[in-house]
């Protein structure tokens, strides 16, 4: 059982022309991840691109592990050209995932764009009523509609910046709405998305004195806390996103 193993491509599905679901079959026993943890995938057999690319665990079963990503640069481009039976080197699970909400607490999940990839397994794991606020630029960036609908405990509020799907708003407006209406302070907020969104959500939960967990992204090399490449400044100094994160609590940030 090692955190470094080979896997075989089962399928590469295009959710949209830019969004890819990569389904892999581990060729060795691997550790069970917690939602919010991530893996480093080696994208090339050659030395270019050199570094591995980090992706949140999207789903994990005994015989299948999958990642959901957006084609962005060279690495994700190569990954999106993988074909069934190709092999790939996988390194993980790494980092700290999302802690589940405490017994009495309700979860409020805020996903910006690709943040949904990291939060989706959390939504599946929280087996009680949960609200998801899911925002993106436009209709075609809203993924997994069916899968979200089929999560029985989850109520989803979709918003797009241009109003082409759901309400025309950023995630912040429905979030503020909800928080204002719920005087119950036992809410735990989970957020993953662009830095701007993270900062705004953080300010909001501070304002309402709520508990929150935030997943951050930073460029990575080692994934193990050794190179000090992926740090973020926190209340307690520089913290490694790959080791102390990627999920940080509101107090830490």
């Amino acid at each position: 059982m090692s955190r470094h193993f080979r896997a075989e491509v089962l399928a590469r599905e295009s959710l949209t022309p830019r969004h890819v679901l990569l389904r892999l079959r581990p060729l060795e026993n691997s550790l069970t991840p917690v939602p919010g943890q991530f893996y480093l995938l080696r994208v090339s057999q050659t030395l270019d691109p050199l570094l591995r690319r980090p992706f949140s665990i999207f789903s994990f079963e005994k015989e299948e592990i999958s990642f959901l990503f957006i084609r962005k640069g060279r690495g994700t481009e190569i990954l999106s050209n993988l074909r069934p039976s190709d092999q790939i080197e996988v390194f993980g699970p790494l980092g700290r995932g999302y802690p589940l909400p405490e017994q009495e607490a309700t979860a409020l999940v805020v996903a910006g764009g690709m943040g949904i990839a990291s939060l989706f397994p959390l939504l599946k794991a929280i087996r009680k009523d949960t609200v998801l606020i899911y925002g993106a630029k436009t209709k075609s960036d809203i993924l997994l509609k069916e899968q979200l609908n089929s999560l029985e405990y989850v109520k989803t509020i979709i918003c797009t910046e241009d109003g082409t799907e759901g309400i025309k708003a950023t995630v912040l407006e429905p979030l503020d709405d909800l928080l204002q209406r719920h005087t119950d302070k036992n809410i735990t907020v989970y957020a993953c998305g662009p830095d701007g969104m993270i900062n705004a959500v953080k300010r909001m939960i501070d304002h309402y004195s709520l508990k929150g967990f935030f997943s951050l992204e930073e460029r990575m090399a080692c994934g193990l806390g050794a190179c000090l490449g992926c740090v973020r400044k926190t209340q307690k100094g520089m913290k490694r996103v790959c080791r102390e994160g990627p999920v940080f609590s509101g107090e830490e940030l």
Binding site: H4, D48, R219, V231, K233
Partner: protein, 302 residues
Amino acid sequence: MNLSVRISSMKMKNPVMTASGTFGYGEEYSEFVDLNSLGAVVVKGISLKPREGNPPPRIWETPCGMLNSIGLQNVGLEEFLKFKLPFLRQFDTNVVVNILGETLEEYVQLCEALDKVVEAIELNLSCPNVKKGGILFSEDPEIFKKVIEESRKKIKHSVMIVKLSPMSDVKKFAKIAEQEGVDALSLINTIPAMAIDIHTRRPRLSNLVGGLSGPAIRPVGVKMVWDVFSTVGIPVIGMGGIITGEDAIEYILAGATAIAVGTANFVYPDATIRILNGIEKYMRLYNIEDINSLVGGLIWEG
């Protein structure tokens, strides 16, 4: 088959070391690498006081290489001795501490504190000298000589290694180091470089400039190791872009008595072991009894 080598009085069971800053304090990689099987673990550069380093972003990928500008972040001498060193002492391997200073005095104090405590001290002189307006210790032959001279006085038991910057005339600096009684030289450190995000027009690294490492620089490292090996008599530790056992052999043939694995750790968490296996495979293939017989074995009638 003998794989053991000596860097001055430091005996190593094999020539595979880790490159400072790429292997943390050993601990981080201990799940993937049996530290007992390494010739030596070289830890992240240590300064007298803990340091925060540069703000992110600190790394950027380049063709067959990467830039880093960690900016000397480290736990500081005290915490290293209290928490990091005891962990490493559980293993049967040599511990080498890479040291960083901003003044001559800091280097001297670090040497004094670490002498005898660890098997070897590696002076990283590619740091800006705050007293001399930020000029690098590795840039000016006079300053370079002075730091070594003063540090040498404090290192009485441990092996003293000086790490050379590729941005200098390595032969000249190697000679100075040898004359000052340094026990071994290590090279190369990263090559200063930068990258720009053409969409935002901003630097890829918050610090603008970073150090280039990885396979891209290997041919530069091999040449410099050969240059230094041909110039001085003290042992050389070669590094720069070693990914496979074959790359390691290339450095050894160029004159490296030991080699250090840096960026490769990020490509494969067990890179050191893969490289060690690759070295052994090569030796078996060519019936090499003793790795030392390969050192500087380049055939060249120039």
